[in-house]
Subunit: 105 residues, 2 copies
Amino acid sequence: MDAVFHALAHGTRRDMLGRLAGGELTVGELAAPLTMSLAAASKHVQVLERAGLVRRTVDGRRHVCRLDPAPLASATAWLRFYEGHWTESLDNLEALLRAPEQENR
Amino acid sequence: MDAVFHALAHGTRRDMLGRLAGGELTVGELAAPLTMSLAAASKHVQVLERAGLVRRTVDGRRHVCRLDPAPLASATAWLRFYEGHWTESLDNLEALLRAPEQENR
DNA sequence: ACTAAACTCAACCATGTGGTTGAGGATCCC
DNA sequence: GGGATCCTCAACCACATGGTTGAGTTTAGT
């Protein structure tokens, strides 16, 4: 799960995932719009692969990547949990403000 | 937004956020259960602060930290967007499997 | 006034990360 | 077969990250 958040922490990788949401792409196609070498882009793909967010099938000399957003589910679950706690603590704050003892600030 | 994902990428920081969801804690209290020095924990708090996830109020010599999950919202929005694309591509897959041309695998 | 406590800051170190280049392995095309 | 294409691998480099220790500051307690 660290791997998922780590993969998402880099803008280049989020960009790749975004374009993969539109359909399968080869490593070269993923690298094309980027301002870095193919080898660098290849490393980013590997990071996404290790995080389980991208699956690769080798088709001849082309490596075709497709999105596998399943690992995103655990990340969203984590986030939703703490957003839940957040609204809860908002309720607590509100309750506190309504309480008889007036300790505003 | 990179900052938010980067902050979440470290298990120690997620742990801190989790405990902060239960209420305000000082830097020392955040550091106590960890196997690192206070200075190291202090740095983690600073990372969370830069990401906007934690707000600090100095109360005497104690630095009280409280959770501010607002930046989590943009992260969840990003994730939900791609989860949407995911279910869409699942539909595409299903449609493909139902299609006349049988190219399973 | 002294000491202890709660932190931050700065310097330092080891390791990880993101990029480059150069070489090489398959694969397609002529 | 020969050359161009697509991609990985390994070595290297600069810089960020995560940890340490030691010193310093501010506050609390006696």
